[in-house]
Every structure is written in structure tokens, then in C-alpha cells.
């Protein structure tokens, strides 16, 4: 969490403990599912993977299936937990918004040095689109996987049409999942996104980074930070900053939540008109956060 300058910097909470735990539960179990799913193909023996140290098990389809099942329990339970936990609390910040596709193209162009990227809410527009895509893929994997599992134990003679659909849907969604995972890794390699990586480990990002790149998010949360005593709960239940963080000055907070006053400095520097600011500010964004100072 130490800033590059060598001194402590302000941090702001982007993800709560629950979200970080959800992410890693799905990510690590998903990785195990990908690996053991691949080993359900007859390739480990053919390609000498079984000859690698500690990999003899990879040629045993039953063992691979057992690990696949164990990882599935975590993957499915964590995914369903995520839907219920955030759905019931109305957390919609990661859901796609109108105009995200157009904005994503603009952001991608900016990564290539063409034009300036727009100001962001808590999440980037392509993050919201990617989330929706990954949600569809994971839902497809879970539904088809459950059908296959039920067939394996209770109904080996279930409708062949259903088995064909479930099996091939599972295979297609598997390929899409791997592609989405590669795209996910590629996104964090892009330099402007790298400071976000720390938040999926610690829950926090630099406040300066948030000011510069996610001012619309700060705009939404700052008024609440002063007026709403419950601010910061819900998606971000982690209330206290890690002990090693040294308190520094608080960030200025504006009272008038309907304007971009708090962001004026940022906007002035980037020549963003107020009209655009207000238009984007109309979106309902996930505003949960904790500011750590």
C-alpha cells in the first residue's frame, strides 16, 4: 500500500471484504475447474503431462472429476451467494449502463493513444460489459454442469437431446470462460488499469488515482460520506483501514451533491464540460466505498 513517492498516501476503499472473498472464491475455484476440465479430455497421457512431477493424477479421469466436483461446490455456492447478497441489497454498480458500449470503444481507443478517456464511475464501462458477459458464461457453465452432474449420478439415461445440449453448452461456455479469463488478465496488464489491481487484494485504491480517473464515483460518494452515517456499508463492509496505514489529511468534501464542484479541479485540467459531467452523473452508480485517510 505504500505510494511510489515513498510516503503514505490516501486510500479509498473500492471493494469490501465480502467482494474480495467472492472474487477469489470464484477465481481460484474457476481456475481449478478449467484445469481439471481440460484433464477430462484424454490429453494428459497423450501429451506427457502425466510424466511431469506431481502430475500423475492428471491422467486419472475419476480423480480429475473428484477435484472438478469439489471446485464446483465453491464456484457455484460463491456465484449464487454473489447474486443473492448483492441482488437483495440493490448493488447495481457492475451492471451495464446505457452508452457503455460506445464509452468502452472510447476507452479502448485511449489505451491506444487515440483521444482521451472519459471520466469513470466506480467501474469502467468495459468492466460493466465484461461483468455481464462473464455472468452469462458462468450461468451457462453452472446450469449445464448441474445437468451433467445429475445425469452422472441419477439419470444416465436422461434425454439424449438434453445431454447433448448440456455437454456442448458446457464445452462452449468453457472456451468462452477461458477467453474471458485471458481478456481479464489482459485488462490488468494495461498500464492505466494497473493501480486497480491492488483493490482486489486489499480492497483499497489510491485516492489520488480515484480522483484522477474515477471522479464520478467520488462525486457520488463524497456527499454521502458527510451526510449518511451508513455510508460505506453494504458492498464494502470493511470499516477500518489496515493498521499500517498512517492517517493523513482528509480529502475536501463538497456539500452540493448535484454538481461537479468537488471535481472542478480535475475537470478544469482535462477540459471536461459541466454538461457532460452532469449527464454522466445522472447514472445510478454503485456508490459504496470507504475513504481511508
Amino acid at each position: 500500500m505504500s505510494p511510489k513517492t515513498g510516503k503514505k498516501q490516501d486510500l479509498i476503499r473500492r471493494h469490501g471484504l465480502v467482494e474480495v472473498a467472492e472474487h477469489w472464491a470464484v477465481a481460484l475455484s474457476g481456475l481449478a475447474l478449467v484445469i481439471t476440465g481440460i484433464f477430462e479430455l484424454p490429453i494428459a497421457g497423450r501429451y506427457y503431462i502425466t510424466d511431469l512431477p506431481g502430475m500423475k493424477w492428471s491422467g486419472d479421469f475419476i480423480v480429475s472429476l473428484q477435484i472438478h466436483y469439489a471446485a464446483s461446490v465453491i464456484f457455484i455456492a460463491a456465484s449464487l451467494f454473489h447474486v443473492v447478497y448483492h441482488g437483495l441489497q440493490g448493488h447495481t454498480g457492475l451492471l451495464p449502463k446505457k452508452g457503455d458500449l460506445k464509452a468502452s470503444v472510447k476507452v479502448l481507443k485511449s489505451f491506444l493513444g487515440r483521444g482521451e478517456e472519459p471520466l469513470f464511475h466506480k467501474y469502467l464501462p468495459e468492466q460493466r460489459l465484461a461483468y455481464a458477459g462473464m455472468a452469462v458464461i458462468i450461468a451457462g457453465l453452472i446450469i449445464s454442469g448441474l445437468i451433467k452432474t445429475f445425469k452422472n449420478v441419477y439419470a444416465p439415461d436422461m434425454s439424449y437431446t438434453l445431454v447433448i445440449w448440456a455437454t456442448w453448452a458446457h464445452n462452449v461456455f468453457f472456451v468462452l470462460f477461458v477467453l474471458a479469463f485471458i481478456a481479464h488478465m489482459a485488462a490488468i496488464v494495461i498500464k492505466p488499469n494497473r493501480p486497480l489491481v491492488r483493490s482486489i487484494f486489499t480492497g483499497y485504491i489510491s485516492l489520488d488515482y480515484a480522483k484522477a480517473r474515477h471522479p464520478l464515483w467520488l462525486e457520488e460518494i463524497m456527499p454521502r460520506a458527510q451526510t449518511d452515517p451508513l455510508q460505506g456499508e453494504g458492498e464494502t463492509p470493511m470499516q477500518e483501514a489496515p493498521a499500517e496505514e498512517v492517517p493523513v489529511e482528509e480529502m475536501p468534501v463538497q456539500e452540493d451533491s448535484g454538481t461537479c464542484t468537488a471535481l472542478r479541479g480535475v475537470r478544469d485540467a482535462r477540459e471536461v464540460p459541466d454538461a457532460e459531467c452532469e449527464a454522466e452523473g445522472d447514472d445510478q452508480e454503485d456508490t459504496s466505498s470507504d475513504r481511508k485517510v
Binding site: Y47, F61, I62, Y69, I76, Y85, N152, P156, D157
Partner: protein, 334 residues
Amino acid sequence: MGDGKKRGITRRTLLKTTLTAAVSAGLGSSGHARTDSGGAVATLIDISRCDGCPGRETPACIQACREKNLQRVPEPVDPLPKVFPRGKTEDFSDRKHLTGRLTPYNYLFIHKAEVEHNGKRWSLNIPRRCMHCDNPACATICPFAANHKHKTGAVVIDSEICFGGAKCRTVCPWSIPQRQSGVGIYLQIAPTLAGNGVMFKCDLCHDRLLEGKNPVCVDACPTKAMLSGPRDGIHAEALKRAGQIGGYLYGSEENGGTATLYVSPVPFEKIDAAIEKGPGRPHMAPVERRMAKTDSLANSVLLSPAIGLTAGVLAVAFALKGRKNSGSEKEQKP
């Protein structure tokens, strides 16, 4: 199996199963054991009745099977694609004539065994083919659903979508499916890198079962050593026959149960010790259902949505309670 204590036919069991057999329409006497119930079919193979068709160049059951199925295998491409990195292919196209083992062109063969039991010497002829297991791992964990257990009880490989990876043979306790390289869909994808042909085996004449007919091997048998019919009736008949001859059963419990029941006058341990075993010539030893090891975890998978949903609701309740308490505390502060 084959163990007199384990598989012993008690009077009570015999009575019960005989009564069951009695109500099973069309069994035994008619020769056409299959009813129009549309349910799962099983086959009884009475080893005491099979004589191996002496005097025939090819036993009748094998002959009928080959006449029906020989054209199922397309002519493989020449040369066969190189299989990276091991280079191992399996080609029986120049050995189509083989009838003494299972091959991609031969789905039934007669296993011969000379066995001595209770002071009597037996020359046994045992028709061997796919057992059509009740819960066949070869079908359930095929990664492309190219192999499936149908309502008829037949386990059928769809040669149109089989890549010939031989996973089915690996998980089959008897290594029944046989591979022919150089044929099938893998030729259209990446023949060097993925797949290696098509797996072939007995399909219990699934097409005929759907028409209410017996498998051709059953109808062709001149000694009625094979019988096909509704599963319950066949099981009952097998128990009845085993009881009558003081014999033994194989297939009712093997790999969790199968649709093929062998009735033998001698223990199967002795048969297994006497038969020639190897590629295409399966054993007759006891078989545990290996997939049973995965069942408890599979049940956990099926419960996992409920676990996630419940945990989510509880976590929301916990979070709301925390917020409420937090709000109350702040209100009480001066």
C-alpha cells in the same frame, strides 16, 4: 461374484424371483422376449446352453452381428494421420476378418474356457460383448456426449461425433470399446493434435430395440443361449435359471449393475482364471463401480446452489442487522 456365499441363490430368493418371472410376459418360451413396454431391456446369456456353434465356420451370433454391423465402419483414410506426439494409431482395417476378439469390426466373440468344477470338466463357450452397464462411466463422462445410455438400456456410441480419444475404453472396467484410426469427425478438425479415430462397440442393436425386436445375436442363437427382454423379467429369469442349476451370476452387480446377465454352472473366478485375457478379450473378474467414489461429491455439487443462496440471504440479514445497530448507536450519541 461367482462366490457361492455372495451369490448363493436362496429358496426365498428363488421363489420370489420365480414368481416375478412368471408374470413377465413372453419370457423364455416365445423366444421374442422383448415386450412393447418401451422400458429398459436386458439380456440373459446362459453359458450352460452355448455350445459355440460346432460345425460352423463362425458362430451364428457373431455371424449375425457382423452382417448387421460390418458396414458401420467407413474406410479409413490412407495414410492414417500422424498423431502428435506419441504417433500411436490403431488400425484394424486389414484385419476385419478377426472374430476371436473385439475389434472395431467385430463386437461379439466367443470366449472359450476349460474349467474343472466339483469333479466335472466343463468346456465353456462364453459370448462376450459390451455389458451395457446401468450407469456406464464410458457414457456419462464422455466429453462430447458421443456415448449415451438410452432408455432401452443400450449404451450407444454416436460415431458421427466421437473423436476416438478412447476415454470410454479407459474407464470401462472391461476395456470394451475398440478404436479405428483414420475415420470420423476428428479428420475434419485437427487430426494431428486432437482425436484419433472413432470408438466402436456393440450397441445392443438399439435400432431394433426401438422397433420392439431382439438384438440379432439373440435371434440368431440356435440353442437359445441368449434371451432378451424387459429388465425385471430377465433378472428374475437369470436368478431362476441359476437356482435351477445351482449356478452363478455375473453382471447383476458388476460395475453397479449391467443389462447383461451371465448364468454359469461354474464359479466365475474359475472362468476368469481360464479365459485368455488381453486387448479385445475382457476379464470376468469382480468389478466395483469406480464412479461411485465421485457420487458424494456430485451430491454436494447438486446442493451447492442451495448452500450459496442460503449463505447469501443470511449474509444480507447479518449486514442489515449490523447497519441497524450502527445507526442506533449513532443516534444515541450526543
